[in-house]
């Protein structure tokens, strides 16, 4: 842990861990979830913002009572934000947390 004079070559430890199958699995499960999902929600948000500028007529179309397409999409943005946050947390909890924690202790043991 910090403060002690490092007896081992820290760089080699980190390189070895980075190459290990356990780390590659954690990295893979993180990136395969986060990158596509980030792309989707950013595209969906920018589509929504751009639609105000590009297709105001569509956004004005009434849906139910005073609610029009713009309000519907806006409320859907709230819903998808909550949903994606929950999905991310579940994914991290079930797929990554345990493996990451044990790899953390392993790595710190090697660094000691």
């Amino acid at each position: 842990m910090p403060g002690t004079v490092p007896e081992v070559d820290r760089t080699e430890v980190y390189r070895a861990v980075q190459r290990s199958a356990a780390f590659q699995r954690i990295r893979h499960s993180y990136r395969t979830f986060v990158f596509p999902v980030s792309g989707v929600f950013l595209a969906w948000y920018l589509f929504y913002v751009a639609a105000q500028a590009a297709a105001p007529a569509l956004m004005r179309r009434p849906v139910a009572g005073p609610v029009n397409v713009a309000w519907l999409l806006g409320l859907l943005q709230f819903a998808t934000t909550f949903l994606l946050a929950w999905m991310y947390a579940r994914n991290a909890r079930t797929k990554r947390d345990r493996a990451a924690l044990s790899l953390r202790w392993d790595t710190q043991d090697q660094l000691r």
Partner: protein
């Protein structure tokens, strides 16, 4: 934000007595928290990170407390009261931004950094100029945001207390600035966090009370609320359609797109939000606090939409605008009406309570910003870039890349250097040879002095910027954060080949265009509401620079990396990646 006419339905005279009392209570309670928290430890860990022992729930409240400024509480609801649907758009950008924070930033930053954004970059790019660039950008972002909040505080507090004199505004700005300096210098992160928690709780509780009263008033019929709002808005059905504020021309729609981009990408680059993740012990706790924040912020904005609609339905857009041209007093006025109207006890009490919550909001947010700004100055610019320069060992630049695998003494020296750079050493570890402990003590002292200095600068700037629109200043702070901080952060975390030159170019490549484009925008000159209304030197048509400066920040980082004379150090990236994803070696 600037107005001269007193609110027509707002309480006058003795009604403000209760508000004054509650404002005093807020000040006393926050000062008590500050002195109570300030007694506990003066180490860097305490000052910058509050001892890292907050729970996810506490930090979730603190995060939303930092995020929900008076601009959100009063500003967004006010915009909805005036412009209907176009105000709703604002709140959505503010919320969706949290997904970027949650997925790409929170956990990795918690694991890889120590106190500030620049710590994360310094873990793999050990160059003084990287630290200086990132620290400087953080100071600029927080200053913009700070000025926005304090200008808002000036006009708002004066308005809530029923005076509109320029003198009252000036003294409010000075008093708020003085208080925030006290909070930060004495209480550090621990006091600031507790103030945020209390404030966020009050804010959410106040919003729930108002929303419940509003919904009861409309017998739970939200569609009827929307109909009534449209009816009393003066714009009819157009109130519920996009374009009331941002629909006049293609330029104004593009401006809105630019703002939307800045909002969604800026949050993840805000220094005072990022430093919050260091107040919890693990990355998992950082994730859980972000989840709490998303729930609180999302729920809050849903209520703000209802309250904005309610203000229009029950008071009317014209009256809201007459009370304050930017609509900032819509929520307090709504509280007055929901409590029973002007003259009734319930109305006056509710008005005073909501005003006091707004005041607490302002105090808490400026304290968080001042702390982040002083941390960036003391930890990144002073200790990291200026004092942390490798003294008398210029050769270590090249040695850092190759000599690390050599003998132990070399790595020992290197490690000492790394402590200064990335802060991998800790307070207890520093006891080994004494010297870093002294440095840490000095650093905290510098941070406290910096808080005083930054506070003073912010007070002076705010006094000059009193005429500027607050929403614009906040939007600008987000644009600068998204242009200067986010690209370099994402590249560092995810791009294997990213180099120090790429980092420096990315920070300045986003920061400089953002600031320059604003200087030549209609906000500064060429319009009646500009900073210099008498002059016209603007050539950039948009008010918000985001749509140009954010891509430039990413582009500059990419080009800087490609043209870099030296390749990226794969060893450093291995350390960053392993540490960020597993927490191994994290403090």
């Amino acid at each position: 934000m600037r107005t001269a006419t007193p609110p027509p339905v707002a309480p006058t005279g003795d009604h403000h007595g209760l508000a004054v009392v509650l404002f005093a209570v807020v000040v006393l309670v926050t000062l008590a928290i500050t002195f109570w928290a300030g007694r506990r430890g003066g180490a860097a860990e305490d000052f910058y990170a509050g001892g890292r022992d907050f729970t996810p729930l506490q930090n979730g409240f603190a995060l939303s407390g930092d995020y929900l400024s008076a601009a959100s509480f009063l500003g967004v609801a006010g915009l909805i009261a005036l412009y209907g649907y176009d105000g709703v758009l604002y709140s959505i950008g503010f919320l969706v931004a949290w997904l970027v924070v949650l997925m790409l930033v929170a956990e990795l930053v918690r694991n890889a950094g120590r106190y500030t954004l620049a710590d994360v970059l310094a873990l793999r790019l050990r160059r003084r100029k990287v630290r200086a660039a990132a620290g400087g950008a953080s100071v600029v972002v927080t200053l913009f945001y700070l000025v926005a909040q304090m200008v808002g505080a000036g006009s708002l507090v004066a308005l809530l207390l029923g005076t509109n004199s320029a003198q009252a505004r000036t003294w409010t700005i000075v008093a708020v600035g003085g208080l925030m300096i006290v909070y930060v210098t004495i209480g550090g992160m621990r006091a600031t966090t507790w103030i945020q928690i209390v404030k966020a709780f009050l804010l959410v509780a106040g919003s729930v009370v108002l929303t419940v009263l509003l919904v009861v008033r409309f017998h739970g019929d939200v569609l009827e609320l929307m109909r009534q709002a449209a009816q009393h808005s003066g714009a009819g059905q157009r109130y519920l359609e996009p374009g009331l504020k941002y629909g006049k021309s293609f330029t104004s729609r593009l401006d809105f797109f630019s703002l939307g981009l800045a909002l969604v990408l800026g949050t993840a680059g805000l220094p005072h939000i990022l430093s919050r993740f260091y107040t919890v012990p693990t990355a998992r706790a950082a994730r859980r606090s972000t989840m709490w924040a998303i729930g609180l912020v999302g729920g809050f904005y849903l209520m703000a939409i209802a309250l904005g609609l309610g203000a229009t339905a029950l008071i009317g857009s014209a009256e809201v605008r007459q009370a304050n041209s930017a609509g900032n007093t819509a929520v307090p006025l709504l509280a007055l009406v929901l409590g029973g109207g002007n003259g009734s006890t319930g109305g006056v009490v509710l008005f005073a309570l909501i005003s006091a919550i707004a005041f607490a909001t302002i105090l808490a947010v400026v304290a968080g910003l001042t702390l982040a700004s002083s941390a960036a100055f003391a930890h990144d610019i002073w200790a990291g870039a200026w004092r942390g320069r490798p003294r008398g060992s210029r050769g270590s630049r090249g040695g850092r890349a190759r000599g690390r695998r050599a003998v132990v003494p070399a790595s020992r020296r290197e490690r000492g250097e790394a402590d200064a750079w990335t802060g991998t050493g800790t307070a207890d570890g520093a006891g080994a040879d004494g010297a870093p402990a002294v440095a840490e003590h000095d650093e905290v002292l510098v941070a406290r002095v910096a808080a005083v200095g930054i506070g003073a600068v912010a007070i002076v700037l705010s006094l000059f910027a009193q005429q500027l629109n607050v929403a614009f200043l906040v939007g600008l702070a987000f644009a600068v954060a998204a242009s200067a901080n986010l690209p370099v952060l994402l590249y560092s975390l995810f791009w294997r080949r990213f180099t120090a030159r790429g980092a420096v170019w990315s920070v300045y490549g986003g920061l400089i265009p953002a600031v320059v484009l604003v200087a030549f925008s209609p906000v500064v000159s060429g319009t009646k509401v500009a900073l210099f209304p008498g002059m016209d030197f603007h050539w950039f048509p948009l008010e918000n620079p985001g749509v140009v400066s954010i891509p430039l920040g990413f582009l500059a980082g990419w080009i800087g990396t490609l043209t870099s004379p030296e390749p990226a150090d794969p060893d450093r990236y291995a350390e960053l990646e392993v540490r960020a994803l597993t927490g191994a070696g994290a403090v």
